[in-house]
């Protein structure tokens, strides 16, 4: 039976680069996939594109391509990535230029766009999922709306001979599903195989999270050589069966436990994992350790795809201002608490207009609140005061950090290491769009 090996070269935009080079050079893979788009990445990239039409793609695209293009070209490895973000065409042009500068002539690069549905969403009668509000009522604050496209346009690009496929918003597993559909000639309505291929994509999309990264817990779950963590490879067969593994000699581990954690990562109902291509069923999945760093995955299936596509909607939400200050040594906790009281009173006294405020003591109860944090009972040696608030303007947000900073000369004794920040917040909501309203576009260029 025909098998292919797919490597996962990045789990997020800022991920390590050399594990991807290791995959290309030593992984015996045919496809190298980079999943680099977080929820709001496109919304932020949209701003960059508006300022400069040649920008708006992943900030590490050039560095990644410079690192992997030569080994991929030498070994005939095709690249699939969503690093196009808000501007796949500009990302493809940049990749073409890099390929030329490396002397890699003849590389065929495809840009997949059409995920940008902002105008469609604004003009029609569509509602925000979370709030039920009409999208049109937010028109003034909307910055982006991108539909999660499926595997089809990537498959079409591969069929047309693309060596590199660069997309904008595409469902993460679809980046991995597309090479399987293309190589094995699966039907776009073979729900069982699409479900199996989607599980493979889901397991791989966070790269190191399945090879022992984000897993280690010393004494309970020990993982060797995390600084040299290897990224995962799926060995997939034509019938959809698959083995998860990694480059021999790299750090980390692939075990049934690492696979189980990743299977359930960011999953709601395991029997109904919605993607643009299939509703995948993870609820009967089983893992078997077949050898060192080799885990077989079986039991996934699928049902017909949904009639709508999820759209990720970016909008200007608010501004956030923050300040922090540290206290250490005897009495640190009491001084930290006093500092918080002073800032709380100052914000009221000076009339800072915040719609939401948080007063945290980092090292004490900042993460999970007071009820869960008192278990130890011992006073910490050091604490860090954190005050953060939501405002309607940047100027107002700056006042919050300033009030924390003034603790230097006005506050409790020996406060140090003040930091402050103020930023605008692009937040994300979602909408559902009939799938025929998002029309994928593929553009080819050659190095």
């Amino acid at each position: 039976m025909k098998t292919i090996r797919i490597g996962s070269g990045a789990g997020y935009s800022g991920d390590r680069i050399e594990p991807a080079v290791e995959l290309a050079e030593k992984g015996h893979i045919q496809y190298l996939v980079f999943e680099c788009l977080a929820e709001r990445t496109i919304a932020i990239a949209q701003g960059a594109k508006l300022k400069d039409p040649t920008q708006g793609y992943d900030p590490l695209l050039a560095e990644r391509m410079l690192a992997v293009l030569r080994p991929c070209h030498e070994k005939g490895i095709r690249i699939v990535t969503n690093m196009g973000a808000a501007n796949p065409v500009a990302a493809a042009a940049k990749t073409r230029d890099i390929a030329r500068s490396l002397g890699l002539g003849g590389l065929k690069i495809a840009a997949v766009s059409g995920d940008d549905v902002l105008e469609t969403l604004k003009s029609g009668d569509h509602r925000i999922e979370e709030t039920g509000a009409p999208v049109s009522s937010m028109a003034g604050s909307l910055v982006s709306a991108n539909a999660y496209l499926g595997a089809a346009p990537i498959v079409a690009a591969l069929k047309a001979g693309a060596d590199i496929v660069i997309t904008g918003r595409v469902a993460d597993p679809a980046l991995f599903l597309a090479p399987q559909i293309f190589e094995f000639g699966w039907s776009m309505e073979d729900w069982d195989r699409l479900g199996k291929g989607t599980v493979v994509g889901h397991l791989l999309e966070c790269a190191g999270q399945i090879t022992g990264g984000y897993f280690a817990d010393p004494g309970v779950k020990d993982v060797a050589a995390l600084a040299r963590l290897g990224f995962p490879i799926a060995e997939v067969a034509e019938d959809g069966s698959a083995v998860i593994t990694k480059v021999a000699g790299s750090g980390g581990a692939v075990t049934t436990a690492t696979c189980k954690e990743q299977l359930l990562y960011e999953i709601h109902d395991p029997a109904a994992y919605y993607t643009p291509d299939v509703v995948a069923d993870f609820s009967q999945v089983r893992f078997t350790q077949e050898g060192p760093d080799r885990v077989r995955v079986a039991g996934a299936s699928g049902r017909p795809r949904p009639a709508t596509l999820k759209v990720s909607v970016g909008y200007l939400d608010s501004f956030i201002g923050e300040g922090q200050m540290s206290y250490a040594g005897p009495g640190a906790l009491a001084r930290g608490r006093l500092a918080l009281e002073i800032v709380r009173e100052r914000l009221a006294l000076t009339g800072v207009e915040a719609t939401e405020l948080r007063f945290d003591l980092i090292g004490v109860d900042s993460i999970h609140g007071s009820a869960l944090s008192t278990a130890g009972g011992q006073e910490p040696y050091e604490v860090r005061v954190r005050v953060v608030g939501r405002t309607g303007s940047l100027k107002e947000a700056q006042r919050i950090g300033n009030e924390v900073e003034t603790l230097y000369t006005n506050g409790p004794a020996s406060g140090g290491g003040a930091t402050k920040s103020a930023k605008d917040v692009v937040a994300m909501l979602s909408a559902l769009l009939p799938r025929e309203l998002a029309k994928p576009v593929i553009e080819f260029m050659e190095a």
Partner: protein, 109 residues
């Protein structure tokens, strides 16, 4: 004993929804986990953090539970004021749950 002695866990996020897996190290312990790690207990444990409903899904084929918690991420990851906006640390807190000690037959090597 603590849940951490027999299970591991990972948190995921989508908007204002957090999900936490609870996975038995040894699948033989799954029934014990299923019996004692209920949606009500998880909701009570996180009462200061989670303001919406908690739904539990069971995945016996991998010896795991999945808790889906609404209104759990300060209004949504992208606008939350929380230090851990993604709620990534929630998994570790859940593993601190107390589970009754039950003698288990020692498995043959």
């Amino acid at each position: 004993m603590k849940l951490r002695d027999i299970a591991h866990s990972r948190t995921g996020d989508k908007g204002d929804i957090s999900n936490i897996s609870v996975i038995a190290f040894d699948e033989a312990d799954y029934p014990l986990i299923e019996a004692h790690v209920t949606a009500d207990r998880v909701k009570e444990l996180f009462h200061e953090v989670v303001h919406g409903e908690v739904v539990r899904y069971t995945i016996p084929s991998v010896g795991a539970l999945n808790f889906v918690m609404r209104q759990a991420l300060g209004g949504g990851v992208t606008r939350s004021l929380a230090l851990d906006a993604h709620g990534k640390c929630l998994a570790s807190a859940l593993l601190d749950l107390e589970i009754p000690d039950i003698a288990r037959p020692i498995q043959a090597a």
